[in-house]
Every structure is written in C-alpha cells, then in structure tokens.
C-alpha cells in the first residue's frame, strides 16, 4: 500500500501510479517545448535580417551573459536542494534554498535588463530590425517565465514561513521546481543557439 512521507495525507490512486499534478506539469512542459521552439526558430531565421543595422553579435558581451547563465544554472541546484530540504522536513533550509533560488533568478533577470539597456543604447532594439525584434521577443518570453517562477518561489517561501507548507505538501515544491528547471534548460538552449554559435557572415 502507499507509504510516503512526501505524498498527500490521503491515499490517492491513479492508473499509472503517477500523481495527477505531476503528470499535468510534464504534459504542460511538453507543450512549452513547442512554444519556445517556435520563438527560437524565428530568431534563427531572422538573426541576420538586420538591414544594415546592429546585429546581436555586434553588441553582445559573452563574458557577461556567461555569468548570467551560470547564475541561472546554479539556481537549479538551489532549487533541488530546497526540495531535498522539505522532503526531510527541514523547513529552515527549505526557506534558505527557496530564497536563494529566487534571488539567483532575480539576479538573472537584472542581468538581462542591464544587458538589454546596453543593447538598446548601441542601437539594437525591438524596432531597429526584425533581428532585434526576434531576439527581444524570445528573451522576454523567457524572462516572463522566469518572473512567474520567482513569484511562485516567493509564494512558497511565504507559505513555509506561515507554517502552511508542511512536509506532506512537498509536492508543491517539487512541481514548481520542475517548472523552474524547465525555464533553466530553455536558457541552456537559448544561450547556445543565440549567443554562442558563430555569428552568421
């Protein structure tokens, strides 16, 4: 029969043994692949369509973005440490790691905003060309996803602080964690395909 320190107090039976919400999250993430795939493809299609204006590789700063990317990557570590904490009943550590994840996320977003200001200053904007538009739409959609994630993480923090996130509800952290990691792996793809691969001639 069902044991679990980590699943909801009432026994919950499904045809596959997988929790409904967990399955739903993975189905949703599958659909998000199509969303970001489209945005990345549009970028790849248009990255050279600058009509003589600035292109991304004229204005970007790889070292800076590398640090940003590393920050987001590490936030996945703190996220999974947060999950490990609640799964063993450590509310204090849970909050520490949740906050760390949210802060790393906010650092990433701040880095993005700073980067974008530089780009705009150098003439690479949403309006300067369709190359610019594609870049900013892609990164803004990603940034919006990160922001939603940060809001959810802070909500979890607040819930834990009020004693509303006991060990039995660790799945909430797990599922929001899945969302957070997804946002991270999308950035892994974006960082490689948008920033790192050689600039078109």
């Amino acid at each position: 029969m069902a044991e679990q320190a980590t699943v909801a107090a009432e026994v919950h039976q499904t045809s596959t043994g997988i929790e409904n919400t967990k399955l739903a999250m993975w189905v949703f993430l599958g659909s998000e692949c199509l969303l970001f795939g489209a945005l990345i493809s549009v970028f790849l299609l248009y990255r050279n369509h600058a009509l003589g204006g600035a292109r991304l590789h004229d204005v970007y700063d790889i070292p800076f973005t590398s640090v940003s990317s590393f920050v987001l990557l590490m936030s996945s570590l703190t996220m999974v440490l947060a999950l490990a904490a609640i799964q063993r009943g450590d509310q204090h550590r849970l909050r520490t790691w949740l906050l760390a994840t949210a802060l790393l996320g906010m650092t990433f977003i701040s880095g993005q905003i700073y980067e974008f200001t530089i780009f705009v200053h150098k003439g690479f904007t949403v309006h300067s060309s369709v190359a610019g538009a594609s870049f900013f739409i892609l990164t803004s959609f990603h940034g919006a996803h990160v922001t939603v994630g940060i809001l959810m993480l802070l909500s979890l923090y607040g819930m834990s602080a009020r004693g509303m996130l006991p060990q039995e509800r660790s799945t909430a952290v797990e599922y929001i964690g899945l969302y957070w990691h997804f946002v991270d792996i999308v950035w892994i793809v974006i960082f490689t395909l948008v920033y790192l691969i050689p600039a078109p001639k």
């Binding site: 043994g17 993430l29 599958g30 998000e32 299609l45 050279n48 990317s69 990557l73 996945s76």
Partner: protein, 107 residues
C-alpha cells in the same frame, strides 16, 4: 499502464542525495566553461556548432535527468516531454529548411 487495479502513488525512485546534486552542478559549471572557451577558439564553424550543441545537449539531459528527476521517475513520465522535444525539433527544422533551401525571399 496498469491493466489491473489502480496503483497508489509513491516515491518510486532511489533519491539522489545532495552530494550528487552538487556534483552534477559542478559538472554543469565545467561544461559551461568549456562551451564559452570553445566559442572563443578559432575553428571551422560546423565543428564549433556541433561541439557547442553537443555540450548543451549534455547539460540539458543532466538537468532533466537529475534535477527534474526524470531518470529516476516512472518512465511513462518521459513520454509527454520527449514527444514535445522531438516534435518541436522536427517541425521547426523543416520550417527552417524550407526557408533556407529554396526561397524566393531575399536573404
């Protein structure tokens, strides 16, 4: 899928412990450093692209497998996600090919 009775949900997996997570994170950092280095090294573009994509796939798989726990979870859980990736990869590749291989629009 269960043909018989319903299955109670449970923590079916062997949990990686925190040490493993940190190890994965260190590898991720190292691979990222390698990617950045490669982006600066002078080499033919196709080789660079292959190398960078290959490394990012490893990072992707590591986060999905370990942090998102897919390696240790019920295998059924992989289906919706992998379907999304393969579908996206296929159709968007075809679209980009349609634009690059033969197109009437100016490049």
């Amino acid at each position: 899928m269960a043909a018989g009775g319903n299955v109670a949900t449970k923590d079916t997996h062997a949990h990686p412990n925190e040490k493993i997570y940190i190890k994965v994170a260190l590898w991720l950092g190292a691979i990222t450093a390698a990617e950045i280095a490669i982006s600066y090294i002078k080499m033919p573009d196709p080789a660079k692209i292959v190398a960078l994509v290959f490394l990012s796939v490893i990072k992707f798989a590591a986060v999905v497998g370990y942090f998102m726990h897919l390696k240790f979870d019920n295998p059924a859980l992989r289906k919706p996600f992998i379907t999304g990736i393969i579908l996206a990869g296929s159709v968007y590749t075809i679209v980009l090919l349609a634009f690059t291989l033969h197109s009437n629009t100016p490049k």
